[in-house]
């Protein structure tokens, strides 16, 4: 039986978070030491605390009580306490105690830091994808984007709308792309807590570029398209579902850039 050890860490990458590296057994005899460390953190360190529990072998209810009290004090001062790296055994014990109604848990410290940066610092994350210009690839691509949006906390409604935008833009890129060149379709997805940005680049079929330019102009001028006109309905739908739509034509290809704000 090894008694609890606890170290306070701060990394250059995360100056606004405190990492508590907890080791061994958190039994009732560890409560005093926990109180001391928690008091020190409240006094001297940033109030967003990640408890690295990967080397904890026992988590008593007495220790859990102290963690709950510590979290309450942190939350009161706009901080938080999250758990990281819990072993399956400890996780199962905590589940039966209902601890995850109070604590959020992450696979490791790095995942907890990512969550902190996403929520508190508003960082944006980016994904890029290149895929061959074939229509059967579009459904998996739209699903990929939709699942990411949901995973990042966007509502089902928002995710579906984002998915629809991706579907329309990618279908256009494949259908109206230059079949001779067969250049891959490039998708860029930028996502943060407030919005998603989607950019799709392809090489347009030269015979369609002029029509696309005209459509793009008319879409940017009018609020609602002429629904009787078969051309441009997809672009009109994208415009309706997005907060900003722009289309650029250059030697490097046709680039459709869409921004959609969350919950709009």
């Amino acid at each position: 039986m090894e008694s609890m050890r606890i170290e306070i860490w701060q990394t250059e990458e995360t100056p606004n978070t405190t990492v508590l590296h907890v080791k061994n057994e958190l039994d009732s005899s560890s409560v005093e030491k926990l109180n001391e460390v928690f008091a020190e953190v409240l006094e001297k360190y940033p109030r967003y605390v990640i408890a690295d529990m990967s080397e904890v072998t026992l988590f008593s209810s007495a220790a859990l009580g102290r963690f709950m009290g510590f979290k309450k004090r942190l939350v009161e001062s706009k901080g938080d306490l999250v758990l990281a790296g819990l072993t399956l055994e400890i996780k199962s014990q905590l589940t039966s105690l209902g601890a995850f109604k109070i604590f959020r848990s992450f696979a490791n410290v790095s995942a907890a830091v990512n969550a902190y940066k996403w929520e508190r610092e508003g960082i944006s994350q980016a994904l890029t994808l290149s895929f061959p210009p074939e229509l059967h690839f579009v459904p998996p691509v739209r699903q990929l984007v939709s699942r990411i949006a949901k995973q990042k906390g966007y509502s089902s409604r928002d995710s579906f709308r984002i998915e629809t935008i991706v579907d329309e833009v990618c279908n256009n890129a494949v259908e109206h792309g230059d079949g001779e060149q067969r250049r891959d379709v490039d998708l860029f997805l930028g996502i943060d807590r407030e919005k998603v940005e989607i950019k799709v680049v392809n090489t347009s079929n030269p015979s369609k570029v002029e029509v696309l330019k005209q459509l793009s102009k008319s879409i940017s001028k009018t609020a609602m398209p002429d629904l009787q006109d078969k051309r441009g309905r997809g672009l009109a739908l994208i415009k309706m579902l997005s907060n900003n739509l722009s289309i650029d034509f250059s030697e490097n290809g046709t680039s459709v850039h869409v921004t959609r704000f969350r919950g709009d």
Partner: protein, 160 residues
């Protein structure tokens, strides 16, 4: 207008943040891409497991900064798929652990002696694929290449 012929080889390149939030979506994406190319659901599911294992390792051990990214090159051929997964490399201990797993390839006894944690889930990747190669360069950039063939799997005897 004539429809361009479907090619026998498709190359897909995906780059995503080293954040475990992305992995469920990426593994499903792989399965759906394969099924769209007429690979069976079983083949697609098993490929999904490979990608999940390797990408989880890449996130857990290879992405120490929140700005780290993972590159997934996914090549679909008519009879096989190839995955190349690159991460920026993690801490010394993790790199050494991966080196040990790589060096012990083929040594069944040595592999059996390793703990579950030390195997990094790579045993299941080896089991589900025909080729697994690793490269760790001088900057710790880690590349895992996995090839999974269609015929072997589709023709495999049913168990259970």
């Amino acid at each position: 207008m004539s429809t361009p012929e479907k090619k026998d080889e498709h190359k897909i390149k995906l780059k995503f943040p080293g954040d475990s939030d992305y992995i469920p979506a990426v593994r499903k994406f792989i399965a759906e891409m394969l099924q769209s190319c007429n690979f069976s659901p079983k083949f697609a599911y098993r490929s999904e497991i490979i990608v999940d294992e390797v990408c989880n390792n890449a996130v857990m051990y290879g992405c120490k900064s929140s700005e780290s990214t993972i590159e997934l090159h996914f090549n679909i051929f008519s009879n096989r798929t190839e995955f190349i997964i690159k991460d920026p490399g993690g801490e010394h201990d993790d790199i050494e652990r991966l080196r040990k797993v790589v060096e012990k390839r083929g040594e069944e006894t040595a592999l059996k002696q390793q703990s579950k944690k030390d195997k990094l889930g790579l045993e299941i990747v080896r089991m589900l694929s025909e080729e697994v190669d690793f490269q760790i360069d001088e900057n710790n950039l880690t590349t895992v290449r996995v090839v999974r063939k269609k015929d072997d799997v589709e023709a495999a005897p049913q168990t259970g």
